[in-house]
Symmetry: D4
Subunit: 215 residues, 8 copies
């Protein structure tokens, strides 16, 4: 049975030594997955190669697309999540959401490059998308993808505005406001670029599903 | 089995005649609940008393606290929702969320007046709250209740900022930003005063739960 | 051949006497259409019934949906304009755009209620919409309709954000920013609720088309 | 006959290898112009010198002023565009608009350094400017040039606010708001520094003009 | 010789009795002009008819256009001020500036309806305007008039943004920012709708001029 | 008896030579503590090693956590201050507040890592915290800690918003607004990251306490 | 000895019946002062005249200037508070602060009309002001009074921005930001118009003073 | 007699070669002062040493404090200007204002470090300051100095907000808004850090003074 929220260390501003020390202590002090987010490749290599972790029981893995270090990932369970993203620059945030969700045991499918200016590509995926237990939509610019997807599926839609875009995108504020104002009712929103937050919201939902299944 | 989103008419800016006509046509054209939101008592009375509706098969009910007109409510299903609110002025939004959720078949419990300045009252309810399948948190001012509840329960938390407050509450913008920045990870947010949106997000979750149960 | 911009009086804040006097003088002092915008029905009746205008050569007409008074409308020319709008509350702005455009000689078609949450309704109209010489898109909330239509047609798209919506619509600011950030390239934008501005932008385009045709 | 929107790759954040690969595949997969925007001189040289492109059928050109790489530009057609800009720091955005428009077949004229504080210089060009089929106005600071030009010409005016300026220019927000509030009716606006967007709006207009001409 | 700042009572939020009392005491306690600003016609009549003022030595006058009550105006001196305004809705603010300036002894000329979309009307007045010792420019919408006038005259230009406009005028904020960012160097700005502030800035200048003349 | 505000030099933007010179002159010209804030370790070393200071009567100390240089600290008096902070990234601001307060003679206790998502950790410290004469609360993100602590203690609470956080934390603006809107009445606030300001507010309070004690 | 925070009912949005019922229950359920804030005169009269309160043991009083209803005020203790305000329109907020503080047992002195444009009036009161245990400064417009007073006294200064002012006062936001940025270090701030919050902050200080005195 | 505005080149973003070329051409093409603003020391040296300028008739000077290059400065005339600034970090902006004003012939006096938290220092200079023909006030943080000086002198006061400060200074926005809302009537404002703009406003005033003197 799923338990509480996983341990997630925020990488930025920490040295690889500090990260290694925190991870070592978390691996010892608790069960379940341990993650470090927003880690660049070189820092990741140096964390993974640190003596205390190399000699440890659990070996970590680096997911470069998601900029994520993962120890003790959960195997994929029965809760299915689809992560949909709009443009290529939304990729890192989408992959962070997908990577975290996967590490904590969701069954994740990803659909990238579904900008609303090419509505037919989205429609071609509609049926597949709507089969998931819940959907995370990642989009910058005007964030319209959340409304379109929200209108196509009946399951929970968690929208993640990204800070990509120019002109009047204002570092994600435009997408954030647009998603909060979505004409597709029942869409919920997390903070700008907060792929991790969306994955943890998915985890909360999986907790409920698991709890009900186990009754 | 639960189907799509319910029909919900937005009351403000419509005359009772217009509302009665729309409702009549929705009752004829589809199955399931029909709701009208943000209706004052006098308009409600006049809608309920309109000839076409009085003579119809389905009789409507007015929920004054939620400012909601409801026809053909669904019976309470097995999905449980708790609606928690902070101050008395958050009441109307909390009751809208609860009223809509109830009308579309969720099993709703309400906890009011749980401001974070009186943290012990919240803690006294923590166990009860955490038993629900999901939680809606309604709060204005600094919206801190979402963070506290998000830290206490492992299930989905949907936060609704309200436009109440003064000083620097800026019509709900402060609560909105605070909830989006919640240190309790995985909390998701809807627009200011959008009790209805939160209830529909709950409906989306119930759709997934029902769908899995029926497999 | 089309000439300059038409005479348009801004109604709000003027008495019916003042409006009648201005219109009388404009009818005498120039050729072509004379319009008064944002006029309520009672003021319109009183302007149309004023002695100086009743006895004049040109009789005015009131377009209630567009809240527009029109004298000497141009006959529909060959330039075709489609006005697309998202929700019922975007109606008045869409009708102002359509009404002004029609009065100054464009051949106008209107499509209402094409919210992006129901993407299939939009697609059903796509071919028809793309036949126009240009398209005006009127939408509030998150203004996503401009992106979807911008992706469907190759002709000029002028987006008008409206002040409708709640939650985080911020009186049209959200739709304005979203439209300026549209991922559908080449969409241009006018101010909030500025149906008139969009119609005059259409007039500018018609001027170019006419000028080229008459060469 | 003009077809759809051209292929435009956004340069920033891509390596010259990535750009070369994308361009190679676009040149193979579609007809018509292929552009890469916002490319610095060194990256451009390295893209143009990459083996796959050197050996290709279509040779690219670099427009340093517009920071643009262009393959298969269209020859100038009959649609005339004038690009007017206010200060020297608006130059790059104006040249991007002009460069893109030229590459996709518009007949482009440029007028630089027409700040409104020297109104007589603008007036000296007024007749020439008003001969174009449409005008793009590029200005930062208070963006007043859009209003002045909008008052001088009857054809479409597309305003591009730039992020230049200091004091209270707020990275282009002041110019953006000013252009959206222009007292010269029918002016439309694109996002801050979005010269490309303005050029594509011009392309949309040219599409309509060509389509009518070809009937 | 000119002395300090005149006594000016801010009318809004005060009863006619309160105003009459304050004015009576100011007339007794100091020399020079006494003004009350932003007074509606009925309040003005009732202040002027109050027993204590009717029986006083100095009789007040009401300037309806400027919404100003004036006692003991100074005769026009040698310092000349021109007040230029853009649209009809900028009128009240322009007249407040002119009315206050006149009451405190400046030699005031007014030019209304000089919107920048009709640049030739402004140019026709340029020589006359530039003869003044200083110029106040009153404009709403995009406030471009300040830049144009600032470029035409070498004397001090004080810009007053007004709260008129729609679309993206944001209650005068757009005009305020635009004026602060004016490309015409050396233009200074006062708060939104602050005609009074501009007149007092003019008074400060007149103080310096008088002081130097009297040396 | 406590006297006026201490001398505090703002380090950023000053060379170590400039700092050494200012400190030397302050040590000579006044009595009591002399502090330099926001000094990095290398600059600090170089200031402390500068000839004029090495040869001086008073030797300085560097507090790396607080980024503070201190000469002539006051001994701890009887006024007790507790500094409470939410997350690890709030640490530097909390330590600046604590460091300054300690240097000017308050009796300081620190409690770190008391985020509201873990409410039980806060409650475990409640009694200890409430024993202080006043409390400084340092928090970023949604700043909810100020409300929770404000509800737990009856003594003065000074809230310091920090610029930490992401998503919608907007560089501390969200925490600032939330703290100003705290539902725990009587909480006061200083600027973003202004640990020093909070410490000086504590100093003001200590001044009153000392003054009364010495009567 | 002082105990916790007093009971304060927020009047707006409540009927006189609701207020009377709440007050009756508070008077019965606790000891110490009971206050109702922001009550207009007619509502106050009707509350005071309600049967349950008329027949009660404790008789209430209405303080019209402070818009405050008070039952069981505490006698003035030894803690002295000075409330300083800038303009006449800051009066109601200053009187709310003073009224609440007085009702809960502080020894309150008020100084009104101390705008910084007349710096000599402030200086004339400086000595008297600095004798208080703490000072509340109430100011709108640019809120400069907080900085001046903060520079004149060594005791705690709590600044209350008010929503008065025009031009660029933005409903108190300008004063709020200015006070938070005060160059007089150690000044703390409460929300816009929050006289009550300032009084309760004073109460917190008095709690500490009393607690220390009683040791 | 003074003529038009001086030639001022904005340095940032230009190479020393570009600056040298522009200056050479301006020196040849017009009479009167030529200035380059915001030039760092090394660029300045390289401009001054460029062959075309070294061999020219007029030799330039670099004013490091004002970051200004000056050719053909005007001798000091009879118009006196006082530049007052608040903190040390306001220095560069104040010196830019003073440097430009001096170069174009004003008789400039500077008073630095007059923060309002030390009101007595300002008062000690009041008489001297008020002797000038006009005053420029440069201040960041809460910008209160403009109000205090505005209340002390009767002559024109031009306020320059600076981007210095922290906490809630928001890069000068707080000071800008505060100065626009100054309770000292008749103060006018230029953009953030715009010392140059203030100097040119002073030049406009000098133009009027000279023009009147020469009649
Ligand atoms: N990429 C991320 N985005 C948002 N929050 C994160 C991220 N990574 C970690 N966190 C959160 O940051 C906190 C850990 O911070 P720290 O203790 O500094 O490692 C936990 O609350 C995590 O849930
Ligand atoms: N409904 C409207 N929306 C926007 N602008 C308008 C509207 N009606 C009139 N105007 C503009 O307002 C100006 C006329 O204002 P007025 O002189 O006050 O009648 C003209 O520039 C019109 O183009
Ligand atoms: N300079 C530019 N300004 C704005 N949009 C651009 C620019 N260059 C390319 N784009 C758009 O960016 C998208 C291509 O992004 P990408 O796939 O990352 O190359 C297309 O939609 C282009 O229309
Ligand atoms: N870390 C800090 N945060 C906020 N204000 C500071 C800080 N350090 C010094 N100050 C203030 O900055 C001013 C000194 O600035 P300066 O004269 O530039 O050293 C004094 O008013 C100090 O109270
Ligand atoms: Mg998108
Ligand atoms: Mg709350
Ligand atoms: Mg919409
Ligand atoms: Mg410009
Ligand atoms: Mg204007
Ligand atoms: Mg926090
Ligand atoms: Mg004030
Ligand atoms: Mg200052």
């Amino acid at each position: 049975r799923r338990q509480g929220l996983p341990e997630i260390v925020y990488g930025p501003g920490k040295t690889s030594e500090e990260i290694a020390a925190i991870v070592t202590s978390l691996l010892a002090g608790c069960e379940g997955p341990v993650l470090v987010s927003r880690v660049e490749a070189d820092v990741a290599a140096s964390v993974l190669g640190s003596p205390e972790l190399v000699s440890g029981r659990d070996q970590g893995e680096y997911d470069a697309g998601a900029r994520l270090l993962v120890w003790r990932p959960r195997p994929a369970g029965t809760v299915s999540l689809t992560v949909v993203s709009a443009g290529t620059s939304d990729g890192p945030v989408a992959r962070e959401a997908a990577g975290v969700a996967r590490a904590i045991g969701l069954d994740v499918t990803e659909h990238a490059d579904l900008g609303v200016a090419g509505i037919h590509r989205i429609l071609g995926r509609a049926e597949e998308i709507s089969r998931a237990d819940l959907v995370i939509v990642v989009a910058g610019m005007e964030g319209a993808l959340a409304s379109v997807v929200g209108g196509l599926v009946a399951v929970p839609v968690i929208a993640v505005p990204t800070s990509t875009g120019y002109g009047a995108a204002f570092e994600g504020v435009t997408a954030l406001l647009a998603m909060l104002s979505s004409c597709a009712a029942g869409v919920t929103v997390v903070g700008i670029d907060n792929g991790l937050g969306a994955a943890l919201a998915a985890h909360r939902l999986a907790t409920t599903l698991d709890r009900r299944a186990s009754r």
